[in-house]
Symmetry: C2
Subunit: 228 residues, 2 copies
Amino acid sequence: MSKCEQCIISEFSTLKSLSKDDLKNISYHKDSIDFKKGDVLFSEGTIINGVYCIKEGVCKLSRLSANGKEQIVRFIKGGDMLGYRSVLSEEPVSLTVTALKDLKACYIPKKEIFDAMKSNAKFSMDMIKTVCHDLKDANMAITNMAQKSVKERLADTLLFLKETFGLDKDGYLDIILTREEFSSVIGTATESAIRLLSGFKKKGLIALDGKRVKVLNESELIRISQGF
Amino acid sequence: MSKCEQCIISEFSTLKSLSKDDLKNISYHKDSIDFKKGDVLFSEGTIINGVYCIKEGVCKLSRLSANGKEQIVRFIKGGDMLGYRSVLSEEPVSLTVTALKDLKACYIPKKEIFDAMKSNAKFSMDMIKTVCHDLKDANMAITNMAQKSVKERLADTLLFLKETFGLDKDGYLDIILTREEFSSVIGTATESAIRLLSGFKKKGLIALDGKRVKVLNESELIRISQGF
DNA sequence: CATATTATATGACATTTATCAGTAATTTTC
DNA sequence: GAAAATTACTGATAAATGTCATATAATATG
């Protein structure tokens, strides 16, 4: 089942404005590719010639800072599109994308994207809105990084992960991050992330089981994230 | 001289793809408005129905954080467009815009923008590229905020201000910020910003004359901004 | 399954940054 | 141009965060 017009993704993502014909046209050109956990889809600085449409799975978008530490800038999940900023602006990719879970993805060559944008004004506007939305989120992230303490940012991150990825069958966050990855989301030393997680556990705000994290007291996490 | 087709801005900004006809059409609808230093052009949360095209002057784009402190997210100068993210995505403005210098600006109703985008694919792509470029900058800012120390961020900011706004006739940065504004760019307490500026002055990296700042040792500031 | 490797955890300490208090300088207002 | 208000500065101290060292647990590898 590699036909775009049958793919559920097209119903709720940026692709939703494409007609059956558009999608049929794309499905001739796209390749369905699966990635394994840990695979790198794009690397910082690379030139790409198409986008990935993620059907299922989770990725991290990160950049290497001057001091060599990884900074996770954003997460991507099923239904999201990857690499469109680079394709639209015809610049190299600015972030490295790594699979955090096994991925099901489709590759759409940039020509298909541009053709669809030319022939379908609504799709074009949806693409613009997607970029605009990401820009708004990024501006918010700048403020959070600049003004919140590490503890506040950790609380924020836990709430964000719960909202974005939901819970698994046992009520744990349905995304697995190492302590080091936690530290590169919130921008702190790994030891600090570990200590703060232990601290939250001690206060009964979260439960920890290996790398799995369960939110126990959401309202208190909200209070903390707002600086109380 | 309120005719868009004569305005120099149209030659080097996102508007450069518009034809003489497009510009003539816009000039019937636009109002030329001047703002004084300190004036607020948009407020966080407001719904706007057009963009400002800045002919001359400087603005700060800021947001109020949960703890009530202002965070300056970005600067805008002559040739830049304001409010386009909100107009394109049909959402309220997410940042407050304040004039730091007297402004000469033109107001372009959103209808004109959308019409021009429909009729002129090149203009449409230029708008997209503008958003994409801003998004890339914002991602970079997230990394800098998360991983650089306050001192590194101050060095960064000084270099950025020099590159973006250039120098006045005496060789000082051609933008005047209060110490508090410095602190809300780099995301720190005002006292810390003051101390760090004094520290840079003591080391001969910069000269201070009231609110005016002159970069004396650029290469050392670059070293500092990179964490040495 | 034994060993090597990596991830997590914790303590001690250094450094960075924030906060509070108070003064001096500058700018605004009348 | 004097008084009031704001902004800039400085010191003392507290709090947050980073670094280094080391131990333990978990995971990977042959």
